[in-house]
């Protein structure tokens, strides 16, 4: 590197330290980092359709977002989740610490298991949701959308626990779809058939270890694989080779986003605004307001936000509710306003699509209570469909329905089916 030869009259440090520093400084030249899988993604990126995922260059699509979606539902889809924020939480008090920080009961999360959880600030407003992997009795991995190191470190005071951010060090892949199990088995991950939903196990890979969990964001049969960054490419190649005859395809976020909506899953800062990013005070949400009330366990010991959450429940201070909607017709109601009796504005659609699996027009919406809560009749959405520079305004009936919008037996079947 040219900079390495520059004279540095101010610094009198060792050459090695200086060159390490210069390397670290040079990040400003690359606004969007590549992930450990970037060489493979670049080779497949025919659309060159990138977006910024937490500072990484991530694909919206690689070749055809429609076909990428069907790879999830009828083959096996490989999605790079490396940009997801990952924290390693370790120590004798790791369980107690996480039990205190997150909503769900971590004492009931056994080693080798994963659960979907969320965490709140002291006012009970949701900071983020994510998945918690219990890798051993004293070691966890917390995966999330946003970054929380200050929150986690401040919360760790008084606990014998260390919290380290390991986003860059650990590469992640989601392998999702009906043939995903067969791909893993054919790739030689012996024993992977034993994984039930939310189980995780370590497997040898390239003189190292890959952690495979039966988890995902698609509502389908699927797995997530975590490996140290330097083993990322060999893992990718191993899966692609084994999956060739099973239709394995790399996909971008647009396809995944459709699958997650069918599965009824929410995305932070898309379906709700996280507390540390909400500038406007009325955008803050408690778990009960975004469909995460099921995580709260009244029997559980103290956790961050507990008092505020129970007080809001008792005093009926919960203003919003997040619901699944089924909308008549087939025009997606993306960001449509929700009305009661076609006139009173009662909420907003945050995600919507025509679901190829459910053959229904589905949506996730946030409504102001009592609408969507006790009043669920006579709800409408106003869709502004732009067609050749004209809005086709449609007022369509919306029905509150349970999520997920699709339920696939193969997601939970044991042993997983060999498609």
């Amino acid at each position: 590197m040219a900079q390495a030869t520059r004279k540095r009259p101010v610094a009198k440090t060792e050459d090695a330290a200086v060159s390490a520093r210069i390397d670290a400084q040079s990040h400003f030249r690359t606004l969007r980092l590549g992930t450990p899988f970037q060489p493979r993604l670049d080779a497949l990126a025919k659309t060159q359709d990138w977006y910024n995922w937490a500072g990484y260059r991530a694909p919206h699509s690689l070749w055809d977002e429609e076909l990428e979606y069907f790879a999830i539902r009828s083959q096996a889809a490989l999605f790079d989740i490396s940009p997801m924020t990952k924290y390693r939480i370790e120590g004798p008090d790791a369980e107690a610490f996480l039990d205190r920080v997150t909503l769900r009961d971590v004492t009931r999360l056994r080693p080798g298991r994963v659960h979907y959880t969320a965490w709140c600030d002291d006012e009970g407003f949701v900071l983020d949701d994510g998945t918690l992997f219990r890798l051993s009795p004293t070691r966890f991995r917390l995966c999330s959308q946003e970054r929380h190191l200050p929150w986690l470190l401040d919360s760790a005071i008084g606990f014998d626990v260390t919290v380290d951010e390991e986003t860059e060090a650990v590469a992640g892949l989601a392998l999702q779809g009906p043939t995903s199990f067969a791909v893993l088995r054919d790739a030689g991950f012996a024993g992977v058939e034993k994984l039930k939903v939310f189980d995780l196990m370590d497997f040898p890979h390239d003189d190292a270890t890959v952690t495979i969990s039966r988890t995902g964001f698609t509502g389908d049969l699927g797995y997530e694989l975590f490996v140290s960054a330097d083993k990322a490419l060999s893992l990718w190649d191993r899966l692609m080779t084994a999956g060739e005859l099973r239709g394995i395809r790399a996909i971008g976020y647009t396809a995944l986003n459709r699958a997650r909506l069918e599965a009824g899953l929410i995305v932070a800062n898309a379906d709700f605004t996280t507390a540390e990013h909400a500038i406007r005070a009325d955008r803050l949400r408690r778990p009960d307001e975004i469909g995460l009330g099921f995580m709260i366990d009244p029997q559980k010991a103290h956790f961050n936000g507990r008092r505020a959450i129970f007080e809001a429940r008792a005093k009926r201070k919960l203003r919003h509710v997040l619901v699944g909607l089924e909308i008549e017709g087939n025009i997606p109601a993306e960001h449509a306003i929700v009305y009661h009796k076609k006139s009173q504005e009662v909420g907003l659609v945050s995600a919507a699509m025509w679901s190829p699996m459910a053959k229904r027009n589905i949506a996730i919406a946030s409504l102001v209570r009592p609408y969507g809560d006790t009043v669920v009749e006579d709800l409408w959405v106003e869709i502004y469909a732009m067609r050749e520079l004209q809005y086709q305004k449609l007022m369509k009936r919306a029905k509150v329905v349970a999520r997920p919008f699709i339920k696939l037996d193969r997601r939970t079947a044991n042993p997983p089916a060999d498609f």
Binding site: Q3, A24, F28, G55, R147, H148, H277, A281
Partner: protein, 539 residues
């Protein structure tokens, strides 16, 4: 003898904004300026051939876009160029940079502390929330809390409603923000010294307080409220230097029929039976006007331009006690080539942004200790920019103009007036600091303009050289700026108005005091203000 509809004393940016709005309302307005050029502290002058300096103010962000629009400043040549970030150089040969890209910014901070890198979001959220509370107040006349007039009650109610609209947590934060030190405030978010020093800079600029003095957190907020063409919080260079702002204002003013007289220093305001009748120039010439607006700071206006006997005792005492302490100086440098900073990669965008060398809170506070002792800081805090990296109009090709804002510089040195030797010593403290990080720096210097509070007061007329026309502490803000009871641009003298940064909402090249003052004057004259855009909505 002609009597102007309004005479504006001082052709600084607020005086010109005020004059523009009055002229556009149909008044016949005269601006009298003591220098041979307009601009006040927003001026670009060629002091050595080929080089334009931004002699005082040097970067632009706070100027209200509503005013730019109303007065058609783009048509009259104003262009603001956003710049990218900046850096604090550290004494171990490294630097901490600020980048515009959120993720690059985070990664840069993570080089020093992963925790602090991730704490930035919460910090940015809280500061943004506070800015959103304050920003709509900038373009409104502060209410008089003792008045029962419907308008004052309405404005008080507005203020109260805005405050009531905050959550309990935000309310607490607001009160803390307005009163606490920038050091304490930053401690709530960050643990790394250089990162705190990086943010603290904005809390002490132009203020005779140290980072550990209560009240400095608000000063930071004041610097975050700006924007460049909708990019909130961004800073930029006015193409052609800060004089381009006042040049455009003067052109706009003249195009609408206004008159400017330069080289016309006002000796005093003509007052008869408690009412302003015009001004008397230093040469004795009398100019009559139906009303007089002073762009000078409140001390200069009422302690120098108006006879004491015309003013109520309490008002006079409060004006005398108004805090407008000189705390900073300026060194403008013409360079025959771009200085090199070996710590910086050659392609770093930091060259085009603001550079600093004060890498710890303690160094910053110690610089303030010198000020308290009546000395300029031996190890000063510099806010240094090289606008010619983005603006080719200010220096010959390949050569550069460097602007160094320097803090702290006391209004008097050890209790006596500044001497030329003091000025040279002050300049040397600046050059020595830069040269420490930029070898060969001295050899590049073609010309220098060194401005201590003495020079700033003498030329620009700012009392003690205070760049804000009075410190931005909570006791001197809103309905207490400049003094209680006179926060609505009027004064105890009938027909004499204020429009400078001594008035709400304070200093910086913002234009809001000039605009708000014009609105009050037009109200008194029962004239329409339909040519004045209301503040943009904050949604």
């Amino acid at each position: 003898m002609k009597a102007w509809d309004a005479i504006v004393i001082g052709g600084g940016h607020n005086g010109l904004v005020n004059a523009c709005y009055l002229q556009r309302a149909g008044l016949d307005v005269l601006v009298v300026e003591k220098n041979d050029w307009v601009g006040g502290a927003a001026t670009s002058r060629e002091l050595t051939p080929g080089f334009l300096y931004s002699n005082c103010s040097y970067v632009c962000s706070l100027f209200r876009p509503e005013i730019m629009r109303d007065l058609e400043l783009p048509r009259f040549g104003l262009q603001v160029i956003s710049y990218e970030g900046g850096a604090v150089f550290t004494r171990d040969g490294d630097y901490l940079a600020n980048y515009r890209d959120h993720d690059v910014h985070r990664r840069e901070f993570a080089r020093f502390s992963r925790r602090d890198a991730e704490a930035y979001d919460r910090y940015a959220r809280d500061v943004t929330r506070q800015c959103r509370f304050i920003q709509p107040l900038l373009m409104r006349t502060a209410p008089d809390p003792t008045s029962l007039k419907p308008r004052d009650l309405g404005e008080l109610l507005y203020l109260g409603k805005k405050f009531a609209g905050l959550s309990a947590e935000e309310m607490a934060l607001t009160l803390r923000f307005w009163t606490m030190s920038i050091s304490d405030f930053l401690d709530e978010y960050f643990e790394t010294d250089v990162i705190k020093a990086n943010f603290a800079l904005s809390g002490i600029i132009g203020t005779a307080l140290g980072p550990m003095s209560p009240g400095t957190a608000y000063v930071l907020l004041h610097h975050y409220m700006g924007e460049v063409d909708g990019s909130v919080g961004a800073w930029g260079y006015a193409r052609g230097g800060m004089g381009a702002v006042t040049k455009a204002l003067a052109a706009s003013f003249k195009a609408s029929g206004g008159t400017i007289r330069t080289g016309a220093e006002v000796d005093h305001v003509l007052v008869s039976r408690g009412k302003a009748k015009g001004v008397v120039l230093a040469g004795g010439e009398e100019i009559y006007g139906k009303l007089v607006v002073s762009n000078a700071d409140v001390k200069r206006t009422f302690l120098k331009l108006v006879e004491e006997k015309e003013l109520p005792d309490i008002f006079l005492r409060r004006v005398k006690n108004f805090k407008i302490r000189g705390s900073s100086g300026k060194v403008n440098i013409a360079l025959d080539s771009l200085p090199e900073f070996p710590a910086l990669p050659k392609d770093s965008p930091v060259y085009r942004g603001d550079m600093h060398f004060t890498d710890s809170m303690e160094r910053m506070e110690r610089a303030y200790d010198d000020w308290k002792a009546g000395r300029w800081s031996a190890d000063p805090f510099l806010d240094m920019v090289i606008p010619t990296t983005l603006d080719p109009t200010m220096a010959p090709s390949g050569k550069h103009f460097m602007s160094c804002f320097v803090q702290y510089a006391p209004p008097k040195v050890n209790g006596r007036d500044w001497t030329d030797a003091d000025r040279d010593g002050f300049a040397e403290s600046v050059i020595a600091q830069i040269a420490e990080y930029s070898p060969g720096f001295r050899d590049r210097i073609v010309h220098m303009e060194v401005r201590t509070p003495r020079e700033i007061e003498a030329e620009v007329g700012l009392t003690e050289g205070n760049i804000f026309q009075g410190e931005l502490t909570f006791d001197q803000l809103l309905f207490n700026r400049p003094v209680p009871g006179y926060a609505q641009y009027r004064s105890p003298v009938g027909g004499l108005y204020m429009c400078g940064s001594s008035t709400h909402p304070g200093g910086g090249v913002m234009g809001a005091p000039g605009r708000n003052s014009a609105a009050e004057i037009l109200r008194d004259l029962a004239k329409s203000t339909s040519h004045m855009s209301p503040a943009h909505d904050v949604i």
